[in-house]
Symmetry: C2
Subunit: 263 residues, 2 copies
Amino acid sequence: MSSLLVVKIGGNVIDNPHALSQFLQRFASLPQQKILIHGGGKIATQVAAKLGVETQMVEGRRITDQAMLDVVTMVYGGLVNKNIVAQLQSIGANALGLTGADAGVIRARKRAVKEIDYGFVGDVEQVNAEVLAGFVQSDLLPVIAPLTFDASLASMLNTNADTMASAVAAALASRFEVNLVYCFEKKGVLSNPDDDDAVIPTLTPTSYANYKATGVINKGMIPKLDNAFAALQNGVSQVTICHADELTTALQTGNTGTKLTLV
Amino acid sequence: MSSLLVVKIGGNVIDNPHALSQFLQRFASLPQQKILIHGGGKIATQVAAKLGVETQMVEGRRITDQAMLDVVTMVYGGLVNKNIVAQLQSIGANALGLTGADAGVIRARKRAVKEIDYGFVGDVEQVNAEVLAGFVQSDLLPVIAPLTFDASLASMLNTNADTMASAVAAALASRFEVNLVYCFEKKGVLSNPDDDDAVIPTLTPTSYANYKATGVINKGMIPKLDNAFAALQNGVSQVTICHADELTTALQTGNTGTKLTLV
């Protein structure tokens, strides 16, 4: 089986043009077949504010009404995605920008309303691994925006990029030896939030449960790690969480970031 | 040689959600292999105004500074393109949204500054027919936004959709028998601008020159027809200009719209 690198790049790098450009240079120079999944960044909030669309957040998650869906479709699917595609193309990487709707690659279902109505937010239902594998095998580099699609509504849906990365990696695990890397603004999962160097080198489901029980791992890291472990449980060979600046080192030496293992 | 239908849909249909939905239904139900190229519509001007970006027009053409380039990248490449892709996917057409940057399908060069500096506006240099043909042959339906790409600038470029349709049709003419249709808000090229039924049924380069000399054909129709004749001269089998509502009739009976022929 040939290998495939699936990288998720967080919104904070998207918000910093210099950091993004540096990251894309490093990413493009990696020899592997690759897929990039990007977060949204703060641009959508800024554009929404200028357009008079109010941003409502509940427990760190954006509520997506129709006006906000239009904004994230513009910003994530248009501005951010095409900016990344143009930069990659200019350095010789044959990037193809996608949302979940394009070629039907990621179908989702609008999240059911329980205590909170998240609006036009999608939970991933199905990744079309055949189409994505076809693009990769045609030497294209899929660049996926955090938007999916519900055919029954004929609507785009705002979707968490961490979840999309996990679902894409898992769907391709029967065709490739998949290496999933979450790149963000920290050096890895930290055992002390005030010490950026206190990286936990490896996590197993057991140690993860202990860190959660003691509150060392909390808040936004929990859904990220749940997604990351789900990928491993669904056949992904390797999952790493590291700083965007250390992607190359993490892949070449393994001596940075947090590695997740099942045992 | 198998046949390929290349359809350009104008901005005025994009601005009318009902008309767009009707058009996409008709378009999707056509049995041929297809490519759709869409215009921009007025949404970009509205979004630009709300964002405080001033729209400057010179001789009917938008001047595209960096702020306006960001707006058209958002609106054409994001909102409009993904709205069309989502609608087509929901009715079973396997749409793939593209800008010129995606998979490097349409490279352009930033227009040189002469009397007017159009800013980030691209003149098409090269269409990657192999990649587009590959998508079509994989039963994908490319939906192309009016944006191209200059690798030397790592920048998206705002580009006229009529020109893109002509260039795409011509580039594919050695691989397919290409039928190019420009759909817009009139029944065809008119011999009297005040009579919407005064459709000129056929135009040759000679009759076109006569209509131009007498001023019957003028203004915005001239670049559209220049693009349309260029496609014929570059091997496209058939070029029709018709109302968006009459696409099916134009293709099935040929008894509507204006047909262009070389002799």
